[in-house]
Each structure stands twice: as structure tokens, then as C-alpha cells.
């Protein structure tokens, strides 16, 4: 089947089987291997991508269901060089070890902070509880998201005083 959608800002056209998941399509048809597959049954969250602004498990969504949507993966959250503020906070707080769950953590946290820039620690924990990490014990991940939240909140408060204000949390 022919499927059209946007990935990380670019229009893509993919020839794929109806049964192909969005995760497999992104990884194996489009070469976006930053999205990881840890369980294929919607529990671990490693495959989380952002579809039209919402964090979605790409292993539970068929590629054909992405037709007409705007998909953002971890590659799309990364600046051309270096790290985004959220990514830098992960590094600073040692919020990753093996790195396998990390793309899903980043997309989940990004989608949260984009819609709830003032999310509380409890809210952040609750939202991240849908993503499994076997290495870190989660504490540094929560610290990283809290620190990114505060930095972005401050940056946005400054930016909102200027005419070119942006509300994107991970510009």
C-alpha cells in the first residue's frame, strides 16, 4: 500500500504492507532507527513517537493509520548539531545508561512539556510511568525532565516579552 505522511517536517511516501506497524515502517522503510522496539505489545514505551502532537506507541499503530499525520521521532527532536535543552538535561543528570529506552523517554517528555509546560513532578512521574527503563531507576530521568521544564519555562517567559516568541519547548 502507498502511505503518505510527514516525518520530522518532511513529506514521505512509503510503499508498505497493511500489517506493517508505524514503528517498523519508520525503522526499516525510512531508516529512522532512533525509534526503538522493546516489546511490540505497547508496554515498554521505547517506540514512542509524537503523532500530531500526542505521544503514541508506534508499535501499536499501523503505518497506514499515520496517513495524513505529522510524525516526530527522536531524530526530529535533535538539533542539527549537539543536544536540545531536554537532551542536554538527560546527559547532565545521567538519565540514560544503555540508551535503549531514551528515545521514548525523550518523545514522551517532549510531548508532555509541549502541552503542559508547568507539569508538576507528580504529573511528570505519572506520564513517564508508561515508559520502562531497566538501567537508571528513573530518578535521574525525572530530575532531567524537571530541570528541562524549569529551563524551558524560564526561556519562554523571557521569549514571551519579545515579538518572535515561541512556545515550542525543545526548539
Amino acid at each position: 500500500m502507498q502511505v503518505h505522511f510527514r516525518v520530522n517536517g518532511s513529506a514521505v511516501e512509503v510503499q508498505t504492507e497493511a500489517r506493517t506497524t508505524l514503528a517498523d515502517c519508520l525503522r526499516h522503510e525510512l531508516g529512522l532507527t532512533g525509534t526503538h522496539v522493546g516489546c511490540e505489545h505497547g508496554v515498554c514505551g521505547a517506540c514512542t513517537v509524537i503523532v500530531d502532537g500526542a505521544a503514541v506507541r508506534s508499535c501499536l499503530m499501523l503505518a497506514v493509520q499515520a496517513t495524513g499525520t505529522n510524525v516526530v521521532t527522536v531524530e526530529g527532536l535533535s538539533p542539527p548539531e549537539g543536544l536540545s535543552p531536554l537532551q542536554a538535561a538527560f546527559r547532565q543528570h545521567h538519565a540514560l545508561q544503555c540508551g535503549f529506552c531514551t528515545p521514548g523517554m525523550l518523545t514522551t517528555a517532549h510531548a508532555l512539556l509541549a502541552t503542559e509546560p508547568d507539569a508538576s513532578e507528580a504529573r511528570i512521574r505519572d506520564v513517564l510511568s508508561g515508559n520502562l527503563c531497566r538501567c537508571t531507576g528513573y530518578i535521574p530521568i525525572v530530575q532531567a525532565v524537571l530541570s528541562a521544564r524549569d529551563a524551558l519555562f524560564k526561556a519562554n517567559a523571557v521569549a514571551s516579552d519579545t515579538p518572535t516568541a515561541t512556545t515550542s519547548p525543545a526548539a
Partner: protein, 776 residues
Amino acid sequence: MHHSHPHPTDGAQIGQPVERVEDLRLLRGEGSYLDDLSRPGMLHACVVRSPLAHGLITAIDLTDARSVPGVHAIFTADDIGVPVPVIPMRLDVLEALHAFEQPVIAQDRVRYVGEPVALVVADSQAIAEDAADRVRLDITPLPVVTEPSPSGAGLVPASLLFEGTASNNPLTLSAVKGDAAAAFATAPYSRSERMAVQRHAAMPLEARGLLAFWSGTECGERLTMLGACKVPHANRRVLATQLGIDPSAIDLEEGDVGGGFGARGEFYPEDFLIPFAARALGRPVKWVEDRREHLLATNHARDARCELEVACTLDGRILALRGTAHTNLGAYIRTNGVTPSRNIAQVGVGPYRIEHVQIDVAVHLSNKTPVGTYRGPGRFETDFFRERLFDLVADDLGLDRVEFRRRNLVQPADMPWALPAVMPWGGDSECDSGNYASTLERALMEFDWAGKSALNGRQIEGRWHGIALGCYLEGGASGPREGARLALEPDGRVAVYTGSSSIGQGLETVFTQIAADAMGVPLAAIAGIHHGSTRFVKEGFGAYSSRSTVMGGSAIVGTATKLKDKIRDAAAGLLGCTPDEVTLLGTGAEDTRGQSVTLAQIAALGPIEAEGSFSSNRRTYSYGAHACHVAVDPGTGAVEVIDYVAVEDVGRIINPLTLHGQATGAIVQGLGGAFMEHLVHDDEGQLLTASLADYLLPSANDFPSIRVFALEEHPSPNNPLGAKGAGEGGIIPVGGVIANAVAAALRPLGVQITELPLSPSHLWTLIASAGAVARE
């Protein structure tokens, strides 16, 4: 943080919380895990696994499966050749156990659900899976054994997993020191208890995977296999024997690895089947395990029962420790299948000064997935047994639980302190250095034991509160050697090649720090840490038993000295002086007249490199104390961990950031094992928890209150870094500490805790039945 003595490897980088060099690629989604890789012409494999736990294979009908378009081949034992190769033990090898090693594919009998029976290779993963569904297996069921039967009761000849054997208990091993029987005979007090730790598993977030391809060269065929990790050199030797080729014709290569924790990287059946298929088909073949397969096929762990008995004086001095444990190893003895049982026996004593010890561990085969090591193998189990028993003893004798432990810890003057020898292997291991009481006192202080004691056993707003403390030892740095090669790159930077492996623990960063200090250069002058491939060093041993930082790091230190000598020689040539007139200064060299050259100028002379290794069979022993405070809801059995404090002394801290990460992550894994993780089988040996919706792992809102304090007061005398293994300590005491805190909370209700996991249903049942007893 500081250490007490100036150290030969003191430098600018060791001890700093350096941000990880691995993180840039991993955070940008540019990691390179096995399933991210492909090769031109690559085919995909799917393993057909036994649906029954025990049975005789009477027929395998491949007709229907072969008819699926896109299928290239289906291999069974017949294609591989009888007898099919078996996977040899790697650690704690015993001649008597060879008969129980696993064949790479089931021949005429299956012994656990998930055992490989056939391998389908097709154009795509989906087609391979479609065809695998159409393989028809005709298996005649045999009686299924799921639990050890120490007395042999209930066993019929057909329940024996291996024909020609007398029982499913092929070995009983023993840890022995002094004369426990004599000490018990005259002891004024003794107390025993039966306890159990459930089967659970390492569960790395990335499942296993392999990609094998062969190439012809003028010297013959050559195999490259990606997806290796942990012990590539050992696995290469096994594979070479099985394939009948020279080890030098095989390259095993490691990419980014999504967690190991002991289970990943050992030699499994697929490590033979995938390169075998690639050779037979002349095409690259990739196999990636799915999560259900992982739960069935990758090593399980723990699953031990123990009756442990301690003898002591009435004022709480321990005289002797003895016990009998039964471990359920599953259907085969895998590469390190006996290691956890061995540790249950040897480390039963923990950090305590116990002169007389006899702990027997009977290992049992069953129709379950085979077990192997999982972080703190045997140590998690045996610490639960011992620490739980100690709280019961202190309670019996009316002694303070902390004082009971304090009174019995090994003292600095006792060092080195010998652990019991484990028979039939023999051989000693000694605790190398430390002040165990110091971590205990620090834990009490950080935890505010005195303040929180007022809450112990009290019901507050409906919930019962309890506190507990436990002490532990972490064995690390297992021998015999590790290799390293350091090369001066054309740009004057130093590339490091190591026999150690990275399984996600931050090895590249820690080794960059060690190499920078050993060379006396800044971090940026280290051109990369190349790990986990058989191509990099002549001999490598890998990442297990908390050995990489100590063994691999020490190999880098020694090899850097060799490289610096060679650089000095070369610089002397350029400067026109003798080598001892040359001083290496950061990224350059200077002679006594003040003339200097850069490392890049020296590198321009031609390749300069040094290879070396670090040898030691003397292990390091990190140690520490954990304390926790829990609240138990008697209406639901749910437990909240209100505070958890860990204090460990690791000898020398290379990177406090990654060390802290190891400790916190390991504690949360331990909390998973203490509260929720459980591989449950029914009586037919079917795994009832074969998804992550059924096998529960801790999540972000389960255990938010953990505090870790790392010390480096007592460097190890056994290596130039003074470091001790530190990857496993965090998990070791968790089961015992949690069980004791919950028991302390529920003591007023008469609840006795002897088995993990302390799931809500388990605890609720204990609370309800204690209530029923109380009402009678």
C-alpha cells in the same frame, strides 16, 4: 569526595563527574543497536520453539511452512548433523555436569517451553514468522517437572530429564569453613528458617539479536557476527569449535547494547544457529528476539529455597552458620548456570565474621527455561536468607538488630578475611580490604535510624510502618586477565582498544577518564574506546562479575606506561637526546634543554602502539549497608518505600555520576525483585507471565525515594587503580532489607515473612491469614 592515600594513578580526570561520551549519539537517536543494522542481501530468521515443556519429538512436518513464498530454508537437528553441538559451561565448569549442557537445537526431546526446534529463514521477518506458524510439530508429552523434588517423591522414570541418570539433582555443592557441626553441637542457641526467592530475570530493554555473514578470502572463509557483547572472545572459541573452523576466522563485534545485567551476551543456541544458516545459504542472516521469546528463551534467574540455621551466644555472637539450599536451574546447565548456586553457598556469610560454615546447595533440573547469572547472582538470594534470619534471631534473643550486625561484622584487623571454600571446585577467595562497620554507621546516620525507630511497628493513618538495615559484600574483578592496546593516532591522540565489553554501563566514559590520566593528557586527547570486538586485542575476557573497570581499567593503566616509554623513545630521536632526558607533558614531549615536540609530530614518524594485559586472580570486595523505611497498607497489601538509603565503599570512584547511576539502577532492579517481578509457570511448565503486561517491572512512580552515598575510604590493594567492582552491589541487599522492613512493620499483626516477592496479593494473604489466626 577524596581518598586517603595519594595514588599512583592520581590525575585530573579520575574522580570527576564527567558527562558521558556515549550520550551524544544515544540522545540524538544515532545509536547503533543490532536491529538498526542491515547488510545487502540479508535474510531474516525466526526460531520455531517447543510449545511443550517435556516431550519426545516424533515428527516435524515442514511441507506447509516450506510452501510459503519467500522462505529460503528451514533447518532442524537433522540438517545440523547428529549429534548436534552442545553449549559448554563457561564459568564454574564441572566434568560431572557436561551431560546436562544444552544442544543448540532440540534433537529428539524437548525439555522446556521455548526450546529451539527449527529455524526458518525468509526474505522478511514477517514471512519467517508466517512460515514458523506452519511448522507442524508432533511431540509426545512426558511428565513435567517444575519444582525440585529433594526426596525424589513423585518422580517416575519418565520424569527424569536425562535418560540414564538417577535423579534430576546432578550436583550438591558445599561452602565449607571450620567445623560447623561441632560448633552447632555446643552452641547455647540456634535458630533455623525456611525461605525462598522467586524466579525472575534480568530483562534488558533491548532483546537479543544477531547478524551473521560470511565472506570468502584467499585464506578461506571468514565469519563476521554482529550483536556480540559481554564475552565475545569466549564465545568465539565455542563457535569455532562448533563450526569446525579456526577462531581467527571469526570476528564477533559489539555495537550499542541495550542492557545486559548478566543475561545478555552469553552463548545461546541462536549464537550457533544464525551463523550456521548464513553459511548454508551464503547470505547474511539476521535474527532479532521478540519480547515473548526473550521471556521464554533468555536465561531466567534466582529461583532458590533455603533452610538456613545460625548458632550464636546469647549475647549475639555468631558461632556458626549452616544450611541447605535447593536451586531450580531449569532444563539445562547453561554457560554460567551453576554460578548463582555457588554464590548462594559462598556468600551466605556476607560481611560477617563467621568461623564455622557449612552451606550445601543442591542444584536441580526442571522443565523450565534454564537459568544463568543476573546482577548479584546468588548474592541477592543468599543475602535475603541471611539477613531475614538475623532479624529473627535478634528478635528471639531480645537484641537490637543493628547491634547484632555491628557485633559480628568482619573488622579491618581481620583483613584479608577468607571466605569459605566451595567444593568440589575448592580454591579460596579473600575479602581484600575495608571497614565494614564504617558503612553501617554512615547508613544509620544518613537514614536517621534513631529518629525513625520511633515509627517502627506503629500504625499511622491506617498504614503500618517498619524500618530495617542490612549489610552486604559485592565480589568483583574476577580474573584471570584483561587485555588492552593503546595506539597513537596520526593526529597525536590516543586510541584505546580493550578486551572489556560495554553493555550500557558507561564503559567508554570511565575508560576515557582512566586512559587520560594514565597518559597524562586531557579527555579530548583520547581518540575513542574500542570495545567488545574480537578484532581489537589478542585476548579479552569481557564484562561480567563487576570486572570491567578494575580489570580493563588496570590493563589500560599498565599499557599506557608501555606506550609512554615508546613515545619517549621516539621523541628522543626527534629531539636528539636520550629517552630519560624526555619528559612527557600533556600532548607533547620536552627535553632537558626545553626543546619540545607534539604528539602529532611524534605520530608522524610512523605507527606507535603498545599492547598489554592486567592479570589478577585476587578479587575485590566492595561492601556497604542499606536501610529502608516502608509503610504497609493492611487493606491492600501495598507497600510504599518511604525512604531508602544505600552506603557503599567501592575503593576508588572513577566517575561519581556513573557510579551513582549503577547503584540507583541496581537498587530499583532489586526492588522489582523484592516486590513484583515473578516468572510464574503452571504445572505443565507453561510460562504464565510471557509479556511485560504480566511480568511486572518497576516504573517511574514506584520507587522515587532512594538516596545513595558512595565512599572510597579503603582502596583495593589488588590493582593499580585501587578500584573495586561496583556494578552489582546495589541489588544485593535489597530483598533482605525490604523483607525485614515489611516484617518489622507487620510484627504487631503476627505476620511472618519468608518468601519473595512481597506482592500486594502475597502480603494481603499473609495479613488476612494472620488476622484469622488471631481471631481463633
